[in-house]
């Protein structure tokens, strides 16, 4: 997992709340065998509408999604995070995230920051006045900046640390790699192995 500290790029004012994971990625895409390549699946139903915000040219190549409350509710599918990531999003800002979605995001290096409802409205207003404008999410300072506006966001210390260090679950375990290697050195020689084939 890559280390995350500052994300700068096109920010999308996403005036929708209760965006559930079935909307983020419909179940029909869950039959795939890959963990990447879900960019076409993101919001696939909504993207049928030519007026949908992500179809507008000024929001091509977006990096930051500023969404309404209760983002990522519903099914636990990890694919929702993969689809956002594959589309190019590195951060989602919202007043409230579903727990499972927030957990899945942290494991995949997608930054999710919490701001209050009034702040989201302020960010939306500024971005809508300047479509396609860049925003900056600073994980070290825990702030979001749009134009002249800079506001704080919340993220728990543990997730922030993991993102700054670029540690996924496997990365965390591999911090104990010496202990694993030591264990392997102690392991009895008669324990079964699958190779060579006998």
């Amino acid at each position: 997992m890559e280390k995350v500290s500052t994300i700068t790029g096109v920010a999308v004012p996403f005036r929708r709340s209760n965006v559930d994971t079935d909307q983020i990625i419909p179940a029909v895409f869950l039959k795939r065998v890959t963990k990447t390549g879900y960019d076409d699946a993101l919001f696939s139903a909504w993207r049928q509408d030519p007026e949908f915000i992500l179809n507008r040219p000024e929001y091509a190549n977006p990096r930051i999604l500023i969404a309404g409350s209760d983002f990522g509710t519903g099914s636990s599918r990890e694919h929702a995070v993969w689809a956002l990531r594959d589309f190019g999003f590195a951060a989602v800002i919202s007043p409230k995230f579903a727990d499972i979605f927030r957990g899945n995001a942290g494991k995949q290096g997608l930054l999710v920051g919490v701001v209050d409802e009034a702040t989201v409205e302020t960010l939306w207003t500024e971005l809508e006045a300047n479509p396609g404008m860049d925003a900056t999410v600073d994980l070290v300072e825990r702030t979001v900046s749009v134009g002249n506006i800079t506001v704080p966001f919340e993220i728990d210390d543990y997730t922030r640390w993991r993102l700054l260090e670029g540690l996924d679950d496997i990365g965390l375990t591999l911090r104990d790699e010496q202990a694993i290697t030591d264990f392997e050195a102690r392991r009895e020689s008669w324990r079964p192995t699958t190779l060579p084939t006998r």
Binding site: V33, W190, P192
Partner: protein
């Protein structure tokens, strides 16, 4: 107060856990456990391998990893390309991943191909005291050897591939003691169905179950695997049986079993694994083997079971409102009327197979009943061995001929109609007596109705056309070997 952890009396499960601790979790964090054997199949592994590729990570221990194709494989025409695109892609993806990451794979057509939980034991890879994981909930099967075996999700599959470890929260222990002697016609399957009916589908949650007592000791390894296999249907983390002479006799001489001095060292260690006499379990359940009868499910979860001699229960007699509502829904789905004797229920299909009951002993038991008989008219009977090797071993004993003479189909190995990921599915409304493990709505095919049974009940039902036991056959005047095992070596 001065006791060190190793002087504390411990259960079998605690001993295996302690022996695999890489790092002890602190402040509520999980323990990090070493994994001795990782079994892989085509359904839950693709994204795990993809995750490794994205992160540029290798498989840490290909020599502790083995893959087979089972969930999607056809049981007919295995030499032809797989028609269903999703199934074909999953299998092709496993083949490519195994090649790229250097993992041993037993593909369709290979003698060791088959249901992952049949393949591990038959190769002698599943051994006492080891930790086993697989992206499949029925991994609990391997606990029959005194191993600690867990089913895991795809993210955890990736974690084990990358690190050969797994962070795990501590567990509680439950003793399930089955004392006495099973009546003729009563099997391991009936024991576990009775256990689940007793403690419920959530009764084992958070626990590792240890099956104990004279009735468990008397079972063959195939019978013990049937029991441990369904631990997950009681919601348990795992199920285990302490290793003994039966375990060692099964293992000795298998391809990956230790040899020579290694064998002696291994047995010496395995003999230390049994639960200490003064160890304390967090919960205890007792069952009297003498009282058990052939068991069958009437509903849509494995806990909704009764003795075959009873009648469909009346939901009105259930006090708990949630359970009553669940029973009402189940009876509606199953199209059953309260008060109907279970033995009057006709079936359309008999499925003999799955990781619960597809090993040689299971096939022998089934064959011993149907030998020289004809299947009931209008009933489709399919017999699916657990692995290509089991299929060949059964054929060497003439079981394929017995099955075909009976009018049943002798298929190639795989998960098959247990979950219908391949073309083996029930049609809407069809009723099946199945030796598998889950009677969930639609599991064996959309609208299909499942009654979970033992191989002996499956065979008797295939002959009579209605849910039946061996004693019903005898009452009909059909000659049945007193041990229900006319085939050499059968242990029912």
């Amino acid at each position: 107060m001065n006791e060190t952890p190793h002087h504390r009396p411990r259960t079998l499960a605690e001993k295996v856990w302690d022996a695999h601790l890489v790092a002890k979790g602190e402040n509520g964090e999980p323990d990090l456990l070493y994994i001795d054997l990782h079994l892989v199949h085509e359904v839950t592994s693709p994204q795990a391998f993809d995750g490794l590729r994205m992160a540029g990570r290798p498989v840490r221990r290909p020599d502790l990893t083995i893959a087979t194709e089972d969930h999607n494989t056809p049981t007919l025409a295995i030499d032809k390309p797989i028609v269903e695109p999703t199934s074909r892609i999953q299998i092709e993806t496993l083949r490519a991943n195994a090649k790229e990451f250097g993992i041993r794979l037993h593909s369709l057509g290979d003698i060791e191909q088959g249901i992952v939980h049949v393949v591990g034991p038959q190769l002698g890879l599943t051994q006492p005291g080891i930790t086993v994981v697989c992206g499949d909930s029925h991994t609990s099967t391997h606990g029959a050897f005194g191993a600690m075996a867990f089913g895991i999700g795809t993210s955890e599959v990736e974690h084990v591939l990358a690190t050969q470890t797994l962070p795990l929260q501590p567990f509680k222990t439950m003793a399930i003691t089955v004392e006495g002697e099973l009546k003729p016609g009563v099997t391991a399957k009936d024991i576990i169905l009775a256990v689940i009916a007793k403690i419920g589908t959530g009764g084992g949650q958070g626990y590792v179950l240890e099956y104990r007592g004279s009735a468990i000791r008397a079972l063959s390894m195939d019978g013990r695997m049937t029991i441990c296999n369904m631990s997950i249907e009681a919601g348990a983390r795992a199920g285990m049986v302490a290793p003994d002479e039966t375990t060692y006799a099964y293992l000795k001489g298998r391809a990956h079993a230790p040899e020579g001095a290694d064998w002696d060292a291994a047995v010496a260690y395995w003999n230390t694994l049994a639960t200490d006499d003064d160890a304390v379990f967090d919960a205890e359940v007792f069952l009297d083997a003498n009282e058990l009868e052939p068991f069958v499910t009437w509903g849509t979860n494995p806990g909704q079971g009764i003795s075959l001699s009873q009648s469909v229960p009346d939901p009105a007699t259930i006090i708990d409102a949630n359970e009553r509502a669940a029973a009402e829904r189940a009876l509606e789905y199953m199209d059953l009327t309260p008060g109907t004797p279970m033995k009057q229920i006709p079936v359309d299909v008999v499925f003999m197979g799955s990781c619960t009951n597809s090993r040689l002993d299971d096939l022998r038991a089934f064959a011993s009943i149907i030998k020289g008989q004809k299947k009931a008219e209008g009933v489709d009977v399919i017999v699916v061995p657990g692995s290509a090797r089991v299929r060949l071993e059964a054929e060497a004993e003439g079981i394929d001929k017995i099955v075909e003479a009976f009018g049943a189909e002798w298929r190639f190995a795989g998960c098959s109609m247990c979950l219908g990921m391949n073309p083996d599915q029930l049609q809407p409304g069809q009723r099946c007596a199945s030796t598998s493990n889950r009677n969930f709505e639609g599991r064996q095919g959309k609208g299909g109705r499942t009654h979970l049974v033992s191989p002996l009940v499956a065979a008797s039902t295939a002959i009579r056309g209605t849910l039946s036991s061996v004693s019903d056959l005898m009452a009909d005047g059909i000659e049945v070997d007193p041990r229900f095992s006319t085939i050499e070596g059968a242990t029912v």
